[in-house]
């Protein structure tokens, strides 16, 4: 900064000096403090979260063995040593398979309608879109109330596996729709035009060109939706699932329990043995949910096409 440039050879060191001055200005105390504060936010938030998850792992360590999935839950403290969460795990698998069967086709077909068929200038299509965005923000316990009032009582399906699956399907439906729409929208128009130019019909274009290209995005959204459904407890509480169920569901109209509900039931017991078992069950639940989310994020980052 000090020596003014006189010759062309001197310009180079001078410009680097002014570069230094810029970096110096950036490292003024206020700047450094701000940067550190922002970094601290990230570290605190995710450090605390990581610490909490580790704590759960340590707390549940003694229960992380085959008892967890081979034994049934119990309401008796004396039998707790030989207890597990098999009925909850099987219940969760039942529910989540049904959610996949119910929710994914409906969600993907809705998204295809909104992206490929609907005329966006029509008020009813815009309303449909707003409705889905709003449903995405409705608290899950409200879906429980929908299940209680309409599906369990008015439709007479009762407090069964199928009721739970329908309620959770409706709950995560917006997630599937929104993700699928984004995946479909990312497929360039030129692909569709080329397909039409070769004489393909609308459905041929959608089913043979657009959907195959959108599969990674749809898969990611679907897995995330299912993993959210696995972790939801609030709607199932309203649907009366809070009891010790010591049998595996054997049909759509069977009674059930699920992992997050079983964990809640353990938490409401005051004895510390239950706390330990709850921690073990949480580790199992987290392993399932986080594994699914990792797969989803991996699929998106690895297979999604950039056009």
């Amino acid at each position: 900064m000090s020596t003014p440039p006189t010759t062309t050879t001197e310009t180079r060191p001078d410009s680097s000096a002014s570069g230094n001055a810029l970096t110096q200005r950036r490292s003024r105390p206020g700047e450094v403090a701000f940067r550190l504060a922002m970094q601290a936010c990230l570290l605190i938030a995710f450090g605390v979260l990581a610490a909490l998850l580790t704590w759960v792992l340590v707390k549940g360590w003694n229960r992380l063995d085959s008892r967890l999935w081979t034994e049934m839950p119990t309401g008796l403290v004396s039998r707790l040593d030989g207890a597990g969460v098999q009925s909850a795990l099987v219940g969760t698998l039942w529910i989540i398979s049904l959610v996949a069967l119910i929710c994914l086709p409906i969600g993907i077909l809705s998204a295809i309608y909104l992206e490929e068929y609907a005329d966006n200038t029509r008020w009813y299509n815009r309303l449909l879109e707003l409705n889905i965005q709003n449903l995405a923000g409705v608290p899950s316990i409200i879906f429980g109330i929908l299940g209680l009032g309409i599906i369990a009582r008015a439709l007479g399906l009762g407090f069964t596996v199928i009721t739970a699956a329908i309620v959770l399907s409706l709950l995560v439906l917006p997630v599937v729709i929104i993700a699928t729409r984004e995946a479909i929208r990312a497929v360039p128009q030129s692909i569709r035009h080329a397909s039409y130019a070769l004489g393909a019909t609308k459905w041929q274009t959608v089913s043979r060109q657009v959907l195959p290209s959108a599969v990674p995005g749809i898969a990611t959204g679907s897995i995330l939706a299912l993993s959210r459904a696995i972790g939801e407890a609030a709607p199932l509480i309203v649907l009366g699932a809070v009891t010790f169920i010591t049998f595996n569901p054997d049909g759509l109209d069977s009674g059930y329990t699920a992992l997050p509900i079983q964990i809640y039931t353990f938490i409401t017991r005051s004895q510390s043995e239950y706390t330990e078992l709850a921690a073990g069950a949480i580790v199992l639940l987290l392993a399932i949910v986080l594994a699914m989310n990792s797969i989803a994020i991996f699929v998106r980052n690895r297979f999604e096409k950039r056009w």
Partner: protein, 315 residues
């Protein structure tokens, strides 16, 4: 014979459209519309499920008592149906959660978007998204059994936090919302065009000035949308407050160190027991549910508007 002539007629009318009207295509369209209508049916179902018992509830309890009453005791012998204690507890928990989640979430977003090098960001962003998927029952568990004992141990005065209290529920909820706020704010900051930043640097701005005076204001509608979404999640969150927030609802609890029932906690608690259909207790679940639905509906409307605005500007 007559069918083939009508086919020929329509084909002559529009040869191009003739191809699209094949049976498969029209069947498919019906199927697609039917699927799309499921979400409409869901909303209608929610409204019907809420409205009928809510009307039944207000035939026995006056709306004035519901809105202004300061005691909510449906399970007591002396029944009172003033919803304010539930609303106050919900607001307290939401307030605590936002006090934690907004600074931490925004700070994380600014760091990721403006300071972190691309490689760090590429690793951290998926981790944040991963953490956003932790089930809320887990947060309830750690709030009650890990965070609250710590809080009670470190509390400086004698009358420390109760076994279940609004403060710890709010803290856990804040930690839960951070990934949501960080992720959405980071998206909107990343959508701010480079040229704005470069313009500011050309005017000799420092990195902090660029972050706070250019990027954050430019991404404001996305940030507001993230915060509103955070509020909406906090208001509607059930498991954390049911497990760690407490049950008191016979008076308005203003001290966050005490436990109190939020709207969601009340619904969850009363419906874990056996309630006879058609009783006033049963209907009160739906009345509180209707209020909750209205509040989150308003919040969602604001959030949707904000997101749309930030998309319109930079896409």
């Amino acid at each position: 014979m007559s069918t083939s002539t009508s086919n020929a007629g329509s084909a002559a009318g529009s040869a191009l459209r003739g191809g699209r009207r094949r049976p498969v295509d029209s069947t498919v369209k019906v199927l697609l519309v039917a699927a799309a209508l499921v979400s409409v049916a869901t909303t209608i179902g929610i409204v019907i499920a809420l409205v009928q018992p809510t009307i039944g509830f207000f035939q026995q309890v006056s709306i004035v008592e519901f809105v202004t009453g300061t005691s909510w005791t449906p399970t007591f012998a002396q029944k009172a149906y003033g919803v304010l204690p539930l609303v106050a507890a919900t607001l307290t928990v939401t307030g605590v959660a936002l006090t934690i989640a907004v600074p931490l979430g925004l700070g994380s977003a600014i760091y990721l978007s403006e300071y972190a090098n691309p490689r760090t960001r590429k690793v951290l962003k998926p981790i944040i998204e991963l953490l956003a998927g932790v089930p809320t029952v887990v947060y309830g568990f750690v709030a009650l059994f890990a965070l609250n004992p710590l809080l009670q141990k470190w509390w400086p005065t004698d009358n420390g936090p109760a076994f279940q209290n609004l403060l710890i529920a709010g803290i856990a909820m804040g930690i839960m919302i951070v990934p949501t706020i960080a992720s959405i704010s980071e998206d909107s900051m990343a959508a701010v065009p480079r040229s704005l930043r470069e313009g500011a640097y050309a005017l000799a701005s420092t990195k902090m000035q660029v972050s706070t005076r250019v990027v954050v204001p430019a991404a404001m509608s996305g940030i507001v949308a993230a915060v509103v979404l955070g509020i909406s999640r906090a208001v509607g969150e059930t498991m954390i407050v049911t497990i760690a927030g407490g049950l008191t609802s016979d008076r308005i609890v203003l001290n966050p160190l005490e436990g109190a029932a939020t709207m969601t906690a009340f619904i969850a608690n009363i419906s874990s027991g056996d309630i006879p259909v058609g009783s006033l207790d049963y209907d009160s679940v739906f009345a509180v549910g209707a209020l909750l639905f209205l509040i989150t509906f308003a919040l969602n409307a604001v959030s949707i508007r904000m997101v749309r605005r930030f998309r319109e500007v930079y896409e």
